[in-house]
Amino acid sequence: MRFVLVAIFTVLAWILSPQALAAPRPSGTPRSTILRGGPVDLGNGRTLERGLVELRGDRIIRVEPDSNSARLPEGATIVELNGHRITPGFIAAQTTLGLDEISMEPSTLDAERTTGDLIRAAHDVSSAIHAQSSLIAVQAIEGITSAIVSPRGGLVSGQSAWIDLLTGEHTTIVTARRIAMTATLGNVNGNSRAAILAKLVEVLDDTRFYASRRAAFDRRQARDLSAHRLDLEALEPVLRAAIPLVVEAHRVSDMLAILDIAKTYDLDLVLVGATQAWEIADVLADAKVTVILQPSENLPNSLDQLGARLDTAARLAAAGVEVGIAIFEDPHNLRNLRQEAGIAVAEGLDPKVALQAITLTLARAYGMQRDYGSIEVGKIANLVVWNGDPFEFSSSPQAVFIRGTSIPLESRQTELRDRYLKLERFRRPPPRPKAP
């Protein structure tokens, strides 16, 4: 056993070494990496008990049951898993990662367009994402490989971007922008929730109106609009259902109201938060709405959240609702996503469904399933090698592949830790001088 472990770590260490990362790729066909000999949770509900996954460039090019006769192309790097488990990289949805470095320092916050208006649809956060943020590696080395970065504030907050958690990749960290529109219902900015719903309907109406009378508007021959023309333009793909409208709502009345609106306008609706969703689980299942929630949130923090429970995810799944799991408020600890999934499992959610809830279900909800969310041929090679149950505290990632590259398992935090592992090297206070 020991020899086997040494073998794994030798291979992993080589992959992680700077030489390997910097190794020049032979021109033409890039060399591939093959991970074999461990269970592979594909993320689509299926598991290969002993699987083989081949990566080349940034993609997965082969997924199959492992066998002694498996084809091993010359020059491929072989990683023997020896029982270690592979899962898809986890996805953090509706987060402000890259927009929030120190939450109470306003100069480090870029999530919100603070113009005061309720409709901020044109606010596209993709250009604000900070690739050098110290938060990115902290999450990545614990298995989060992608995030849906979303704006905050107002009724319609703006548009989300998809990122892969590659620190410092300024030009490529954002892989897709304007993938979803975020909105919040309820008592927003002290407005009656009825006024908020009416405003949303008015804006959707005006989006349709503006789309068909743009020339007239430019000639000043159209009636007044309820939002800036750029905000209405941004909402146009929502009306076409080309991107989802991702709506935070907690009270049953708000969820029923937005279901109605989504039906009227034929929108692609995703619900977020959804504290009381379990009360209308059948309705949500019929409407085929994905619900993204945070399982540990079981407190009645407001009247909208009365009835909050730990087993909401299990109840929704049992009713046939697609459930996603996310951490909404703390971009610093998205790494606890696996704990949230574990809590949902402890409260009755099927572990396979829980894994999908932080991988494929989210990719699908945001229209990114062609490239993300599961270990399937052709998808981006974002995956994690675990030394045990990925939801358990005793397990940790042994390797994290993002876009086919094994990232160094280092962060600002590991650097600080290493600096203070031995305190002897620090200075002692000098003895106080005696009075002369």
Binding site: S103, P300, R338, A346, S394, R417, L421, L423
Partner: protein, 421 residues
Amino acid sequence: MTATGMAHERGDLYVRDGKIAGVGSDLSVPSGTTVIDVSGTVITPGLIDTHSHIGVYPAPAFVAHQDANEAVSPTTPHVSSADGYWPQDPQLDRARAGGITTLQILPGSANLIGGSTFTMKTYLGARSAEDARFVAAPRGLKIACGENPKRTYGEKGGPQTRMGNMAGFRRAFEQARAYAQKWRKYREALAAFEHAPLSTEPTSEPKLPPDPPDHDLGLEALAGVLAGNVLVHNHCYRADEMIVMMEIAESFGFRIRSFHHAVEAYKIADRLAAHGASASVWADWWGFKAEAFDGIRENAALVHAASAKAIIHSDSAIGIQRLNQEAAKAMFAGRRAGLDISDDDALQWITANPAWALGVDAWVGTLEVGKQADLVVWNGTPFSVYAKAMQVYVEGDLVYDRTAPRNRPTNDFEAGFEVTP
């Protein structure tokens, strides 16, 4: 798991009159004793949280419910969290279900000196703070350095800087010393008066007793700190500030009992050990403010490795529901960094060590004969993400039972709001 460094593979626990009367294997108990078979489970001491605002920052977070910060002056040592405590807070039921049996309720951290804390137990049926109070617990005092007092008072007359914070502490304790001195002198004068021989000379003026100084509840609390009978709980994140606080404390002859949050405790774990301070920390919170930016997962483990007392605290009505899982995260992070931390060590971070920090370790915190029977029965190891408290006992009374058919909230607030699943 006893939190004493010892575990019994198949143990028995004998409880009599609310106290632990026996721990071990194959205990013989008097006939007529109720026997509860919990085989397949794990028993630990009840969990203890040194840092909670349940009842003073309740759910729902109504404007009308914000009772933790008397933010009208940077020093309010005269107020007490017990006076603001709302026993119907729905958060308490969730904490109890997470295995919490003892917790300290603190005033907030807006003020340099926020007021007295109180330590309570998760008894059922408490209608007031007094009903819930851990009677034997000493008084605690909440003080706070760093960003919060600066932010609260920067535009309101100060302190505006960390300089002002520290000067504020020194001035307050100077006043307390003068106050204690005044009372000491008065008591001496009174004693002298009372013991003076009666004058036999008929002509002399009648001698009057000395006038007592004015009472000041706040200065009395601070004087209690100087005398060593009020425990100091210091909200403080940064290593350099903790060092200044220890210097201030030592110059006035007292100790900081526990630094709370202490996100940088790992940088000065040796100094904490030398001072005798514990560190009440989170497993992984960091970055929400500048003074929390250097948080690391190994904080508790490194404090432990330096022989200072590590404690996992919550400061959160979510975190308090699974202090065991927070301890697990901190324990495994420490092991991955090569530190030697046993399951029992990590259990002590949420039982024996917080009991010490609250000054109640003679009564709770471990499974030892003579201690109060505060227990949690888990469905397996408490350090799993799937761990659940099946039963919780306070002084031998069952206060939570996960399998009970009608396991409903006990607080008044949620009455009538419930939806039948």
